[in-house]
Symmetry: C2
């Protein structure tokens, strides 16, 4: 299922599963899954939406896990670098990764109605961009692919 986020699912299990995966991943890689980092990921996982750094910070603050911007940004940096979360550039916001895999080039479907973000598990089609890059001798290190629009349920709601 490529757009899980738009579908009904056992979300509690979904979160628990992702947290377990994150814990194992960090253990394997020798990364420290500290309380702030773990809770930050959990907060992102609760939603299948992108949260701004300051949204995350507000929640952390309520739980006395920190109150200053760097707290949120450090946690987000860690999660992004660990591959456990992604930044949605078009929103300047962050979303938990729904992938189990390791290195991947995510592509996102972002609903402007409900802000839900689905991560397409496309192993990525080497599209024309790669061809163009190769032709120009350009070496791609990171690719941002974000599609904005309306999810099925928001299409109904709208008019």
């Amino acid at each position: 299922m490529t757009a899980l986020s738009f579908c009904a699912h056992d979300h509690a299990a979904c979160v628990a599963d992702r947290m377990r995966h994150a814990r194992e991943h960090c253990a394997r890689e020798g990364l420290k899954f500290t309380p702030v980092r773990a809770r930050s990921l959990e907060i992102l996982l609760q939603e299948h939406r992108a949260l701004g750094a300051y949204d995350l910070l507000a929640q952390l603050s309520r739980e006395n896990l920190g109150s200053q911007p760097p707290v949120a940004y450090r946690a987000l940096d860690f999660l992004v670098k660990a591959g456990l979360a992604h930044k949605i550039e078009a929103l300047n916001a962050y979303v938990a990764c729904t992938h189990s895999g390791t290195d991947h080039t995510p592509a996102f479907l972002i609903c402007r109605g409900c802000n839900v973000v689905a991560e397409a598990d496309t192993a990525l089609s080497p599209g024309r961009l790669d061809v163009a890059a190769a032709a120009a001798g350009f070496e791609i290190e990171h690719t941002v692919i974000e599609a904005q629009g309306l999810c099925p349920s928001c299409q109904e709601t709208a008019t």
Copy 2:
């Protein structure tokens, strides 16, 4: 040539040509190509790099075309809506469109060394993302495709 920006070319002619095109486009569409707007586009065209709104503003200010943020943002909004410029989401910056065509889904190659941005003139490859979107019933309205990496000349420079 899809990655013109990385190649040597007659840039003065390149700018003049784009300005002429913009003037004609606005005339056709009944859009007002005012001095601030025209000069803003020209400033973007000088570089083939993405400029931040405040970089543009600084230049406009030097020329007494305005000194407050809204001046730059209004000009950029106009240019983006008119299809004469694009926003690079990954940089929160703006680049002049190098396309003549009308409606297009641009894809960018962004050099992290020299900040040059090339707009690939892909007429759009319906990649896996579109397939995934269709499968999920998601209606795509706008797509951001931005590849970051190193241009040929910066690859040499970097050790």
